[in-house]
Symmetry: D2
Subunit: 320 residues, 4 copies
């Protein structure tokens, strides 16, 4: 593992090395999703040979991964009219009845994409804009990425390759570029990562969550995840996006002795323009990839396009 | 157009003719999505030749299509921490800042799928279950269809073929099987509808909504849409699902002189087990189809999997 | 009626004349509620001779006064567990059953108090603080006024005294100091307004709302209400608070030819520190006051103490 | 302490002994609040001699008493437009700026009244109605009690009289009629409980909550509280309502060896028609009562009148 200096120093170096401001114009709303073009999409579709579809979303409910950090609650689901149909009091003619439902939830509650307005570096959002975002992100709201998360997905199952007999990394395990390379080599040619890809990172922590029966301390607590040092790989490979099966993608505790908050996010989102995915359920897909040895697929991960949102829930579909 | 008898009579006949209860077992959670298999999915993926992705979702915001019917509001989007990053009062170290956001919305608020628990016929839900659904649909909740809406999509642009010079059908225009057949013929071979397909029906009304600048009376009011008589076609063709660009899919006013409420829904959902999609934005896709003459595509329309929900918002992606 | 100059000029004069910054210290959280002391409260309690209690709140529901201004919706009420008790599926022992409910609402949705953090004048909130209020008002949140709105209430039924045969003022009617004085004289000694009083202003518009069956254009539209010129009277009399039966308290359209937004609020709240009440239902109380000629009473109008809120719903109780 | 038989037996006896169905007519919406009349109110007002007002509400925020039982979350507070005033982007003229806010919360989240539609006994709600309550309680919704909770309050500070040196009862302490009588005697004449009174019961547990810094296990866990046996006293004294400083009013664990759920609620609400208050903050009032020896006061505890609600938040005001 690369030896890391103090957090402020490392952030300063990373800004110089990985900042993409202006790379796609001052009005850009896509960040590294600009790497993903129709040629990649067309190729990605050709990977869906068996026609197997895998949803990579957790179920959205009150047993979800949130424990109150920054006011994040789990989704609250409300029924309307339930019982009235059974009671026959809805007042509709000819035996018609129905029920509606509502949801209240943080857009960061469960399986989701962090948008470009979600994280700031010294009061600057993506492309150097001021972080004075009010009543929604009027420039890089997630609705601008409505159709952008559609392309080639590659699963890097670091848990299976570098983890324990259950295919899990322990909490605090910092995934470095070396682990990524080891994983790619072990998995074989289909997991080669290329420009414009969406990388799915499996740590296996979700397996522990399921054994525990609840997220418990894994909601905002210790976790395996990306080392700060992988920013170099993320930048160099020109991936379009990356998502993982943990609450926060990057390793916790952080790799710095100083007080610290999501340093990889701080470089990736506002500086690189790289969308990050969290709380993805990769278990079913990973088992299939392990079985057939194919780790690439068509990935359609279209966020709910809430206008001005700094992130959004998503039901990602991998097709093999 | 077939002449229609009184509503109760027509419903009685339709129940006999189109009811699919038991067809896929007593525990079925998919309804007509059972027609959609991996072979269809694999073929559908092969249709995405150009790698062009079209989001078919409206933006989710307060200017949306709802006007209060049954308590349906438009989505309400709340920011958290906005301004505090700018004010420097978030208390995070090393220049880290961020914002979260929340949403409150009916699951029926905007672009969505009606699930199998949404509509009842004489107190019976899909497969003959009691409509006594409480705190969510514990049997056919939308999360059971997480990965099911993935297959071949076919656009039937009835507005363009049978409508006015703007490609729009007038409000109250009842689309019959004949209109569907005329459209398929005019569009050509790629729009042949087959077992397991997801049909997208364009009336063109959304164009009027955009000219008006708001949904206005089109939220629950008059609209072009499917005639009750098309149930026969829907049943016979064994489509997996159907969605349209209007608030309610079926024609309004209804085709019966008697007081009436969504009669096509009453047969399609609880009796046939056919999921219905509403408020889809087909404008961009339709223009592309008209331009290249290809009306079939890969359709990935994965609903937000809210546990126990009787419907769900969706950001559908068509890939050509 | 006093002749008014251009809006910017009038605001400038009003700031000089009515600003109370520093009057109760730099840490003040009560504004003009400082005028209201325990001696006034004790006297006010002595006015409740008959023991008649009047709720001055509208019912909080989806038929309320909101039509979307600044994202204000009417309260949305959700039931939990309804039907499950009837269905016997709650899983509780010995015949126990129950239901809960939730509400989603703007704190400004219905009968409410505007708190001191609600309105700003040139980016300054009450007492000269910056308006950079984030995640709630940490200084003058409504919870600081938990027990403060308890004292003498005086009803000024300008509608009955100066209005039409129904006791209503027409929309656009600007209530001046002269109308207030005429009303006080007509009503008699019990309506003398003194330091520390909470004044309730009846325009009668709510009667029209009820005849129409809905708020319609009265939600944010034309209304009778206080003239900008009454700021002098509000300041001079040293009232603790004032509330009315309209959506916005002040007259609409505004009294200035220039583009204008709630100018009386702009002086009253951030400059004077005067809490304003809106959408109060004074109809029952006013009828009683007209009948017995007594226009003073104990008023307990305790806001729901949501931490950091810039306003709050309230169920005010007048006791005579 | 009276020896208690098996739960089902005790419930059966209690139904016979304490059921008030029909006592105030079949259309009754007030239950035991019928005991509270204007004469009591007038007398109660006369008790507010010093003009001191005490809010008995907790602050409503995310640190509140809920931990997820039956989907109960703590109130979620959302700001609108914060930051935009500071940024100068609101678009209003002449220096006007403002902020709104919203709240999402269970009506049972914090200081509240249980209404008559909240609890059922063998599928029966108050007065023998079916518990098939849907989309709100259309008969006994809390808005029917808008002005009813206004009368004489009596504090029974059992914690101070029967508890430890901190004035606290230990968790699991079952308050019996004997403890109530001991308390009344120790407190003196002003705490005599009479027909139509609203009794406030202080256990002192809230002091422990404050020492712990959070509700923790006290949200739905062990607590001091009313013994099931006090139903006799509640019925006999004909009190109008009773509220306490704990999450659930009655003692936990319950006094029965059998599986059990809120047995006192099951008799009090649907059978007696007695509204119950929970999570009231009696600390300040209790200190004052202990200091001056006066334990009676005017109590105005007007619930937020959400239409059809089975309970409601309240900011109760005691005036002495």
């Amino acid at each position: 593992m690369t030896s890391l200096g103090p957090i402020e120093e490392e952030l300063a170096k990373a800004r110089v090395a990985y900042r993409n401001w202006g790379r796609w114009g001052t009005d850009d709303v896509l960040g590294t999703l600009n790497f993903l073009d129709d040629a990649i999409r067309a190729h990605a579709a050709s990977l869906a040979r068996r026609g197997r579809a895998f949803s990579l979303a957790l179920d959205f409910n009150e047993d979800g991964p949130q424990r109150g950090f920054r006011g994040r609650i789990n989704p609250v689901h409300y029924m309307r009219d339930t019982g009235s149909a059974a009671a026959g009091t809805q007042g509709f003619p000819h035996g018609f009845g129905g029920a509606d439902d509502h949801v209240v939830m943080p857009l960061q509650a469960s399986t989701q994409w962090d948008g470009l307005g979600h994280i700031y570096d010294n009061k600057k959002a993506w492309n150097g804009r001021s972080c004075a975002i009010v009543n929604g992100d009027s420039v890089t709201g997630i609705e601008r990425m409505k159709d952008a998360f559609t392309g080639r997905g590659v699963l890097l199952d670091v848990g299976r390759v570098c983890g324990d007999e259950r295919g899990e990394l322990e909490d605090g395990f910092a995934i470095t570029e070396e682990h990524l390379r080891t994983t790619i080599e072990a998995q074989g040619a289909t997991s080669a990562v290329r420009r414009g890809d969406m990388v799915l990172l499996r740590t296996g922590q979700l397996g522990r969550v399921r054994r525990l029966g609840e997220w418990g301390t894994y909601a905002g607590g210790d976790a395996p995840g990306l080392s700060f040092t992988t920013l170099d790989w993320l930048h160099r490979t020109e991936v379009a996006a990356i998502a993982a099966d943990t609450w926060g993608l990057e390793v916790r505790p952080y790799e710095f002795p100083q007080p610290c908050m999501s340093p990889l996010h701080q470089i990736a989102i506002p500086n690189m323009g790289l969308p990050l995915g969290e709380m993805w359920d990769l278990e079913g897909l990973a088992a299939d990839c392990a079985a057939d040895g194919v780790h690439e697929f068509l990935l359609i991960a279209a966020p709910l396009p809430v206008t001005g949102a700094v992130g959004a829930p998503v039901n990602p579909i991998a097709m093999k």
